[in-house]
Symmetry: C2
Subunit: 206 residues, 2 copies
């Protein structure tokens, strides 16, 4: 066979992918990312900086970098963040160094971001794959939002959260995939996300 | 929570998908489709009509409809075929009734087509998902083509096949995914195809 009939295997997307796990408040982004971390070593995880107090089970440098508001405002001033947001009175954002290290690692990069953050990442990295998590139904979602509000705040906080959820849902059109994260179906959610990532590695470059 | 914050779950693609398994001669399309059939009941398989003689392990109405050239030419005249091709002196094609029944079944529809057929299907059904099978390397491919030529034909046939492979590779740009079907890795090929199909069910409608 002549050399000129060889398939150009470069059509296959062998590059590391940038994958964003997002979705509205209370949908379970943290649990999904934690389960992905437990299940496989195939990802480089980007750690987000956060000014809120750690929850009991959260570990510095693993779940988040917990920094003071003063330090965070300094990072904003120095343009050290790829994206940041002011959420429920706290700052949250991705340090540039984190994402650049991640992309250089050669592994698929996985980020957990709120919807606002996902939007900014898509503008910066149009090739990013955005996965939107959904609750399986309205009742389930309402229950999770209530639980989160009781854990953290007040009735006012609940109103702010509901307003935010409405805003977040308008962003659905920038996402590539939607996955339902139903109660007690975390394994299935993670299976689906892993299938999406496997499939994306076989998509042909257009 | 007000009703207007409900997610519109119609953004999820719950419709049955039309999936085409294709790729150049000798890449193992038949084995892959057979293994998909063995592995899961989730698909409706479209049966192709063919005028060549059945191979020893092929079953009428399961692998193909084996019809005479006269009958096939009648089907062409009566416009009973979605697509057809004249391949190595024989006719091969998909009866319209087959694909229409399949789409009405509500199951994902799976078709094995040569590259020419895949092109025609993409024109007729732009939403079809086209998967291109590749050999893992040139040597493997050459060996398979030789084996097929020895099984069926002559040296001349081998030349025709090589010319055809060159043509077929130019069609790669219409495909959505490429999957390597390596020797002794059929399980892995099929795992990847099933992941692609799972992922496609979660793609957001643009």
């Amino acid at each position: 066979m002549n050399r000129d009939v060889i398939v150009n295997f470069d059509v296959l997307n062998k590059d590391a992918l940038l994958i964003v796990i997002s979705g509205p408040s209370g949908v379970g982004k943290d649990s999904v990312v934690k389960e992905l971390k437990n299940r496989t070593g195939q990802f480089h995880f980007v750690i987000t900086a956060n000014t809120r107090a750690p929850r009991p089970d959260e570990v510095e440098g693993v779940d988040y970098f917990f920094v003071s508001k003063e330090r965070f405002e300094e990072m904003i001033q120095r343009d050290e963040l790829v994206e940041w947001a002011h959420v429920y009175g706290d700052y949250k954002g991705v340090p540039k160094a984190q994402i650049e290290d991640a992309l250089a690692s050669g592994k698929d990069v996985l980020m957990r971001l709120d919807v606002q953050g996902a939007k900014r990442i898509k503008n910066l990295y149009p090739e990013a794959i955005l996965i939107f998590l959904l609750p399986s139904n309205e009742e389930e979602w309402n229950r999770r939002l209530q639980a989160r509000a009781e854990e953290q705040g007040t009735d006012l906080d609940m109103d702010i959260r509901l307003k935010k959820v409405r805003e977040e849902l308008t962003a659905l059109n920038i996402f590539d995939y939607a996955v339902v994260n139903a109660d007690n179906e975390l394994e299935h959610t993670v299976d689906t996300i892993l299938a999406i990532i496997a499939a994306e590695h076989h998509r042909l470059v257009r």
